[in-house]
């Protein structure tokens, strides 16, 4: 019967199996990320026409929008992995959740920096207390809280469980912070500048953007797999399979 899928997933969640699996997939993901990223950058920075209103400055969206999307996507992945790790106590899920956090924080940081670089010529200011900017900043703090909590425990698995709990609490806050766009604007001044919606964008601008989104996805996979591999080695350092790998690497 078709029970090979659960069986495969089950086997994959064991650290040595995932270590090998990630080791095979990681170079491909990294290569795809680099190729797609290069294509997207060429398409976005060279081929795509200048915007009729914003000129060339709009081109930063080819970095900004994909990383903004990734900052939320990775939080979702982290929270799901955190949930799995808390419910089923799967070691791999803990590692995935905790190693996603720094990558997500990095994407959030890139989003904030590129947004502010774009804001200076467009809005005439590096920073404004727009609800969307503020919610992205809060997202960064959520990531930093998870990372900080993880590292504040002496026992790593205990720290991972506590931080996983925080990640799940935080995701309740993500939609709340997101909806604050509406609540905030009714009380304070309305948001005057909106980022272009992808649907309203012409095709020769849209395809580099979507390509870059795929590139960041693959970059995330490559980065996550690399981090998870090293983390598994140190977490399982007393185990037999790690010793075997260490001996193999030593012979080479």
């Amino acid at each position: 019967m078709a029970n090979w899928i659960p069986l495969w997933v089950h086997k994959l969640s064991s650290p040595p199996n995932f270590y090998r699996f990630a080791g095979v997939l990681r170079p491909w993901a990294l290569a795809l990320a680099l190729v797609l990223g290069a294509i997207a950058l060429y398409g976005g920075l060279v081929l795509a026409p200048a915007d009729y209103q914003q000129g060339d400055a709009y081109r930063i969206i080819f970095i900004h929008v994909p990383s903004a999307w990734m900052s939320l996507f990775i939080y979702g992945v982290m929270a799901v992995a955190a949930f799995i790790s808390l419910v089923w106590r799967i070691k791999l899920a803990e590692v995935v959740a905790m190693e996603s956090a720094p990558i997500g924080a990095a994407f959030t940081f890139i989003t904030l920096v590129t947004g502010s670089l774009w804001g200076k010529p467009m809005w005439g200011t590096w920073w404004t207390w727009d609800a969307r900017l503020t919610s992205e900043l809060v997202l960064l703090f959520l990531y930093l809280g998870v990372i900080g909590l993880y590292h504040s425990f002496e026992d790593r698995r205990q720290g991972a469980r506590a931080a996983a709990f925080l990640a799940i609490i935080g995701i309740i806050n993500v939609p709340i912070v997101h909806f604050s766009v509406n609540w905030w604007n009714t009380l304070h001044q309305g948001s005057t500048v909106r980022i272009l919606g992808p649907s309203k964008m012409s095709g020769d601008m849209l395809w580099p953007l979507l390509t870059m989104m795929a590139a960041t996805k693959f970059y995330y996979i490559a980065s996550l797999f690399g981090r998870v591999r090293t983390d598994l080695l140190s977490l399982e350092s007393g185990k037999d399979w790690v010793r075997q790998i260490a001996e193999q690497e030593g012979q080479r």
Binding site: G145, G148, S152, Q158, A162, I169, S180, W183
Partner: protein
Amino acid sequence: MSHATLASACAAVLRRDLTLAWRRRGDITMPVLYALIVVTLFPFALGPEDALLQRIAGGVVLLTMLLAMLLALDAMFRSDIEDGSLELLMLSPQPLALMLGMKILAHWITTALPLIVIAPLLAGMLHLPPSVMPVLVYALLLATPLLSLLGAVLVALTAGSRRSGMLLALMLLPLCVPVVIFAAGAVAAAQQGLPWLAPIAWLGAALVMALVLAPLACAAALRIALDA
């Protein structure tokens, strides 16, 4: 030995925490003094213009309360962990979430209630119009239990780790953003003569949700933190 009923167990936990707090009355006054001093610093930092102070009064009082509560939160479970009474509570047959809810209530009574009592005084120091005062108190009455409940979950998470003070701020403040938005929004709306009931109602809804979920989450977090 007769088993305690749920109600008597709740009352015992509440009475114990309140008695302990009353024996150390000095600790109760600390957050109040802290809030008083922080609010006093604002006119020095921003200049003593009445119009400016009046405009920021609601937000300043709110944030001062938040910071004062943050400082007090850190000690919520500490002595109970040190002398082992928290482990006994976890082993007791009564539901842990309910017992922790009582502890959170006791903590709110001892730290937040004194702060709410002096809030009109603090707001008055910043020239908040008296007509807005009730709205500020309503907002605080709903916002401070929310902060206590949220904070208790996070304190429980850090219970097993050493350095928790700064970390607690890093974890709690992002989660407080909606609370601050609504509470400050209500005060600002009242100040401009706009209807202020909607943000208050949102705070109430959030409080009801937190009342149900936070003690459960707090219990789960404590079990995680003290597992090892």
